[in-house]
Amino acid sequence: MKSIFNILIVLLVVLSATSGYAQIKNQKTETVKVLGNCDMCKTSIENAGNLKNVSSVIWNKDSKMAEITFDSKKTNRSEILKRIALAGYDSDEYLAPDNAYAQLAECCKYERQDKEPAMAVDHTKMEMEMEMTMPSTENHTDMTMSEIKEISNLDALFNSYFAVKDALVNTNPTTAAAKSSELLTALKALKIGSLKAEEQTTATKVIPSLLEASKNISETKDIGKQREIFKVLSKSMHELISFYNANETLYYQYCPMQDANWLSKDKTVKNPYYGSQMLSCGSTVETIDNKK
């Protein structure tokens, strides 16, 4: 009697196990490399790849290999990998869109293999210069951002400042805080000794206030406070402008409502103090053309 019971249980287990898979017909299984880091990545990768009765993905975070099982009459490997790439994860067939990668949680930001197109948009200029000086494109992919910053620390400083400004224009306090902490890093990395004597005087004068302002912006998620601090930040940045050789024309712009200024690479007014509420309010008060 007991053996019959056991047999029944075994049968049940076998049946239920097969029914779990039986949903995907014309099954085909392949193993592919998908880049990622952690358990969070595992969930995102599998969710992106799974499609009820059509495909299922199991990703191993240690080997970075994904086992994809799919109905070969309804879909194919490429379709599944494309969905995974659109969620931010590179594979051997697709590279994720840059902003899909950028939106990944911090722990999921795996090291991208083919780094060439993966750099953030803001740095495209820098990137192109790099390409020209570096004969091997393979190599520069491994270079970290801090190394680039050492090459021209004022560039890094201003770029972070513009990133903060753009975040405020877009009314995005999270990005503003993140970019502000990048600004803080850039400030700390600034080698005052490399500047000329009179520039050093100006720099030592404004750097404390810059440090404080960027620190404060990075520590709050309140857009109102960030914008208030940004006034001081912009004013101090403006003092540095005289000895910063940007590759392009910069504009010092003014918002009469807030009686405050800001710096921009863009001639068109995009007001960081109001964002979309009052985007084009304000005017250019100074055009800075230090191109060499």
């Binding site: 009459k73 309804k74 490429s78 494309k82 790439a85 659109l86 051997d92 067939e93 697709y94 590279l95 994720a96 869109p97 840059d98 902003n99 899909a100 083919d114 060439e116 197109p117 495209t124 494109t137 753009d166 877009n170 009314t171 009469p256 409502m257 807030q258 068109t268 995009k270 109001y274 979309s276 509420q277 009052m278 985007l279 084009s280 309010c281």
Partner: protein, 760 residues
């Protein structure tokens, strides 16, 4: 002696050029395709969809033999080409259609260059495969030859869409305001969705203004295609390396889809539009209107990588991709889903109670201000629940701002200026500039024409000045005139208006360098002006290129005065009648509810203005009774809210004790056996309530209020009805498939029932 040889050589080369005849044979055949897992009928030319790319060089003579091996007629139109009128390929206007199993020869000299395309102009054949690229190359010695552009490697691209539905059925469904496409797209905009996202007020306001759910396109498509494929690995160009440039010659051969064009490898440089060169302009994205062409130059930024060129229909339901370069595929971000309720709020703000659009003092033209930006998350941010746009549209100032300093009107305009609102540069018409002066002879007599684009989504009637093709005369123009056309779009959809046989100057603020085009996409509330030289005799079609709008009658014919008769139209009267037949077509609709308490149903045939409809309620016994009501009516006005009708009612019922019923007006009626004539009127009230007043030959009067198809959830609909005969009805219908629903309803005559609804 030497001189003579040179002269001879010159003559030789001249005559060679003059005789350069390029011949194509096109075999048009029925075929079966499988885009979605289901086998469906399509039309292939030389065995392929899209039709083969036809390539010519300016100065060639084209000879195209069309072998019609279909069981139906056809005809081919050469979109954007200057040619003799009888070669233009519009059935019943420039030629009689090509009969089945016959061969028709089109021949014309190629007197221009640029990216063009060709398609069937017969019926709805364009939807099922009859579109293809037509590339007219510049001669190498052309003065306008642009180094670095005209010598680039080129890929012809024709965009299109696929539906598993038969296009005739699709057209019928559009005319019956079927919301099946919205269900498939997930854009029903039901009350439940409105409540969830905090937009119930918006939804009710929308229905108050008598609008159905809003959308940017009419049809749900199963697939979107680049050269016939959704995923396209370009194999025509080998060995592309970093820094190489590629010229894409893009034609939108879609029957009703606009497409966003974006590129994973950076900016897109627009170098030509509608086959005419423009000064290069760098943009992040282009919205290509139905039937437009753009030449776009893109750069391959890296080795060993293929960059995605992404084509997304305006409704963003799906997409198609082509990968440029070799190696691992770098994707670009898909366009985020539209914020429909934001769009609905925007429409509520624009629409006046009488169905006209309110421009609010904005001068909109040339696609510079795009009201749709309120729906684009990439421009205006992700959806926020319950955000009240109306406040902002009213120009309400954020705190701390002094409104006196602001120009209220300007603010409104800036709210819709996509390029100001974001870092994304979207191409608009104002950015197009011809590389050379395009002015027309000043001494030419001026003829000015004005058209208002009109339409009615609820009944799918599309027209110019509220007249469809069959209701209007040909517009006479004289050879040598300068024709200036002003268009104003007072409808809720955008329309790509296309002129046959001519390029026009689009007056877009570029002065003498106005770009030459043959399609102008005009958004709701926009006013656009173009002018052209009447220099080519014949009857030329001017129409909306959305296939289903054209077939509904949205167009006109420009006809040259005193022109030679067209030898291909032996019987002009018959041809004209046939031409007008398209928009005179009646569209059939039928449904029946097989319920436990009886059968409930209706059958309707409607055209642009007329409606023939009959409704029935058939019980299963004499007590419940049997009744039918037939109405023949004519829709009045642009919005067609009013419909006077004559009717016939028949009813039989056996009540237990010869009961007599009394209506609200004290009129008595046994209703047991009745057969009466009536006259009455339907009027659509705000909130889409249909009011009906009817007087019968027996003197009885009836007032009825009915609201059908209230979208409770994405698939659940509610019907409510009450009339002065003290009859009422309430019902629910759950839409299971396109033709099937499950219903339950309560009816004052027949009681409670559940049933199965079958509709066509």
């Amino acid at each position: 002696m030497k001189k003579i040889i040179t002269v001879l050589l010159l003559l030789g080369s001249l005559s060679l050029q003059a005789q350069n005849i390029v011949r194509y044979d096109l075999y048009v055949r029925d075929t079966i395709v499988n885009f979605t897992g289901k086998e469906k009928r399509a039309i292939a030319v030389n065995g392929q969809i899209p039709m083969p790319t036809l390539t010519f060089t300016e100065g060639d003579i084209a000879e195209i033999y069309v072998h019609n091996e279909l069981e139906e007629e056809t005809s081919l139109h050469w979109h954007g080409l200057f040619l003799p009128n009888k070669e233009d390929g519009v059935p019943y206007l420039t030629q009689m259609p090509i009969k089945p199993h016959t061969v028709h020869k089109y021949t014309f000299p190629i007197i221009q260059h640029g990216t063009h395309w060709y398609h069937s102009h017969f019926g709805l054949q364009e939807q099922i495969g009859m579109y293809g690229s037509m590339i007219l190359n510049k001669r190498a010695d052309d003065k306008t030859f642009r180094k670095g552009i005209d010598d680039l490697p080129t890929i012809p691209i024709v965009l299109s869409e696929w539906t598993d539905l038969k296009p005739e059925n699709l057209h019928r469904m559009l005319h019956n305001a079927s919301d099946w496409f919205a269900i498939k797209k997930g854009t029903t905009q039901s009350y439940a969705e409105a409540i969830q996202t905090g937009h119930l007020k918006t939804k009710l306001h929308n229905e108050w203004k008598r609008m159905l759910a809003m959308d940017v396109s009419d049809v749900y498509y199963d697939k979107f295609l680049i050269n016939g494929k959704s995923e396209n690995e370009d194999t025509s160009l080998k060995g592309l390396k970093a820094g190489d440039k590629v010229r894409l010659r893009i034609s939108n051969g879609g029957a009703s889809s606009y497409f966003w064009l974006t590129y994973a490898g950076g900016k897109i440089t627009v170098v030509a539009n509608d086959g005419n060169d423009v000064e290069p302009v760098d943009v992040d994205r282009i919205l290509i209107a139905v039937s437009e062409t753009y030449d776009a130059v893109v750069t391959i930024p890296a080795d060993n990588t293929a960059f995605e060129f992404l084509v997304t229909p305006e409704d963003r339901t799906k997409s198609a991709s082509i990968y440029l370069g070799e190696g691992i595929k770098q994707l670009t971000s898909p366009l985020p889903k539209l914020k429909y309720f934001e769009g609905m709020e925007m429409m509520n703000g624009m629409m006046k109670m009488n169905g006209d659009l309110d421009q609010m003092g904005m001068n909109m033209s040339m696609q510079q201000m795009d009201m749709n930006v309120v729906m684009y998350p990439e421009i205006t941010g992700a959806a926020e629940n319950g955000k009240d746009m109306i406040m902002e549209m009213g120009g309400e100032a954020p705190s701390g701002h002094n409104m006196d300093q602001m120009d209220g009107m300007q603010m409104n305009e800036e709210m819709y200026n996509s390029n100001e609102l974001s870092d994304i540069t979207t191409l608009n018409y104002a950015m197009l500039k011809s590389p050379f002066v395009t002015t027309l002879p000043e001494e030419a007599p001026l003829k000015e024409l004005h058209f208002t684009l009109t339409g009615n989504m609820n009944r799918y009637v599309w027209s110019l000045d509220n007249k469809v093709i069959s209701e209007s005369d040909k517009i006479l123009i004289k050879k040598g005139e300068k024709v200036k056309v002003t268009l104003y779009n007072n409808s809720m959809m955008r329309h790509p208006m296309h002129l046959h046989g001519h390029d026009f100057r689009l007056l877009n603020g570029q002065g003498d360098y106005a770009p030459l085009k043959n399609v102008v996409d005009i958004m709701p509330m926009e006013t656009d002006v173009f002018e052209f030289e009447a220099n080519s005799e014949g009857d030329w079609f001017f129409h909306c290129h959305i296939l289903y709008h054209m077939m509904s009658g949205m167009g006109r014919v420009f006809s040259y005065e005193n022109q030679e008769p067209n030898p291909l139209i032996p019987n002009p009267q018959l041809a004209l009648k046939k031409l007008k037949g398209d928009d005179r077509e009646f569209h059939l609709m039928a449904e029946n509810d097989f319920a436990t308490n009886g059968n409930d149903g209706e059958l309707m045939a409607q055209s642009t203005r007329w409606s023939f409809g009959t409704e029935w309620r058939l019980g299963y016994n004499d007590m419940h009774g049997y009744e039918t009501e037939t109405h023949i009516g004519r829709y009045i006005g642009k919005m067609q809210w009013l419909m006077p009708f004559v009717g016939f009612d028949w009813r039989y019922r056996k009540l237990a004790h010869n009961e007599v019923e009394e209506n609200l007006f004290g009129q008595k009626n046994t209703k047991d056996k009745r057969s009466v004539l009536s006259v009455g009127v339907n009027y659509t009230l705000p909130l889409l309530v249909m009011a009906q007043a009817e007087i019968f030959t027996d003197g009885n009067v009836r007032l009825q209020f009915e609201r059908n198809d209230m979208p409770l959830t994405a698939r659940l609909r509610m019907n409510l009805m009450w009339n002065t005969d003290k009859e009422y009805m309430g019902g629910l219908r759950y839409i299971v498939t396109r033709n099937l629903g499950i219903t339950s309803h309560y009816d004052s005559d027949m009681g409670f029932g559940v049933g199965l609804n079958v509709n066509y």
